[in-house]
Symmetry: C2
């Protein structure tokens, strides 16, 4: 299924999530008992890769005693499960980033879903409504409170990530915790009571003092650190004056198409280090640098 116009990271697994089986404990047990069922191999929260760089899968017999399993869905007819992952002490989220550069987006998608669910379960052993203990259910796609009976569903946080454009250049910024020379699109969480377009305008104004006229959606992808939905947009800026929020950005500048292309291609004289291909900021920058002209009649730089 070619769902969107642009191929984004952490998408394209093509599996049937088979929501219809999640509440059917007998069916889940039957699927897990099948000889062709597969269990995702994990190292703490991280994936294990085969020699060819693909996800490593084992049989359900490899499951540790007493470990819950997440039902990922059906790959054709084959049931796919993942152990409910637990972090290895000292394991850092960024250690997986070098693996991700080698992984196919569809493999990253399957692993990403398992990772997001694992983090959500780890953060929700108790009920926010009554404080009682909650328990794993729905094949991992929920937790039920043992006290008040409230059902809780995995949280997905929508995040806008955007390029403001002005006069043939786009705004890229640098957060203090980024690796050396890295710049990327600006981003922020969508708040209650605002649209995607309003969140884009608010974040650009808050972080960089930039006012925008028009916002246009480009693409989306999940981001499993721990569970965001990234919504990538382009926005037309009214001017190029900047007023940076030093808590959010340590630097920002307007980059030309030639500069963005050099960064994406890893050119030695590029003015900055681009975000990696599995980040939607990369997709958004490439889309703009190679194809996009927001204002009609303006030639590519």
């Amino acid at each position: 299924m070619e769902a969107g116009r642009l191929k984004t990271g952490f998408t394209g697994s093509g599996i049937d999530r088979a929501d219809r089986f999640r509440l059917d404990e007998a069916r889940l047990a039957e699927l897990a008992a099948r000889l062709d069922a597969r269990l995702l191999r994990l190292d703490g929260l991280d994936p294990v890769l085969d020699a060819d760089g693909r996800l490593s899968w084992g049989s359900l017999a490899e499951l540790e005693e007493g470990r819950d399993t997440v039902f990922l869905g059906l790959d054709g007819d084959r049931p796919l499960f993942a152990p409910l992952a637990r972090p290895v002490p000292g394991q850092r989220a960024w250690a997986v980033f070098h693996l991700l550069t080698r992984m196919a987006p569809e493999d990253a998608a399957l692993w990403g879903a398992a990772r997001s669910l694992a983090e959500w379960h780890a953060r929700h052993p108790f009920c926010g409504a009554c404080g009682s203990a909650t328990a794993f259910f729905r094949g991992g796609w929920g937790r039920r409170c043992g006290g008040c009976g409230t059902d809780h569903f995995p949280r997905v946080d929508p995040v806008v990530i955007m390029l403001a454009e002005h006069d043939g250049r786009v705004l890229v910024g640098r957060q203090p915790q980024y690796p050396p020379r890295r710049y990327s699109a600006l981003a922020g969480f969508v708040e209650p009571g605002e649209s995607v377009e309003e969140a884009v305008a608010r974040e650009l104004f808050e972080e960089a003092g930039v006012t925008v006229r028009q916002v246009r959606y480009v693409a989306s992808q999940p981001w499993p650190f721990p569970g965001s939905l990234m919504i990538a947009c382009l926005a037309e800026a009214e001017g190029d004056a900047l007023s940076l929020d030093a808590d959010e950005l340590e630097d920002a500048f307007w980059a030309s198409r030639a500069e963005i292309r050099a960064a994406l291609d890893g050119a030695p004289d590029a003015p900055f280090l681009a975000p990696p291909p599995y980040a939607i900021a990369h997709t958004l920058l490439r889309h703009w640098a190679e194809a996009e002209r927001l204002a009609p009649g303006r030639p590519p730089a």
Copy 2:
């Protein structure tokens, strides 16, 4: 600010949410003490309207003793607050729907933010991580755990809402709890590990057995019952055969542009009752019926 291409419900308040003041208790107290500060009048969770149909605002002196206040932001220079709303016993969410048909979208936006926050606070008196009591902070835009110190932020659930198109018609469906004759766009929550486009394809397949090729974003809006981000899309269906999930839909059919226009205009011979103007399904249906042709070369029906 004309943020998006289409005007959607619950948007356009144009206020500065002034996130920069939320953690500054002294500043918030100073803003609340100002003579020009305004407090949103509420009836339980519902808005109170003036004779002219606009939101009713009072002074902070009207605040009940001991009631927390949410800092909505600055309207120009004027600070806007809302009491942390509590449901009136017996008050139903749908009772507000007749008020919403009279409200300006920018008023609905301000009230919607206050309502979403109120519901979120009411559902999160305890910490999901450790089970201890949490307390109101950040001017209402968070809760802090008194046990483990975890900060919790208001939840926003991304929801896809979409029209599958085939041969000049779009699919509308009817959920069992809808009012008589109401049909609308299909919808569902985005899950961890999927993009907007994948969620659209999954929901159309799960609910109606429809397979789609291409998905295109149209518009977004918040929905304060209790706190969703609605993401409206069009999708190109491969065929028009339907296989309905009876738990989700009691009926669905492919409607022509003429039928959709009749429904949106409230024509007596319309084949169904359209969703109300403040719902993004209405915006999406009108956008498709009046302007949209996904497949090139096909004349409007």
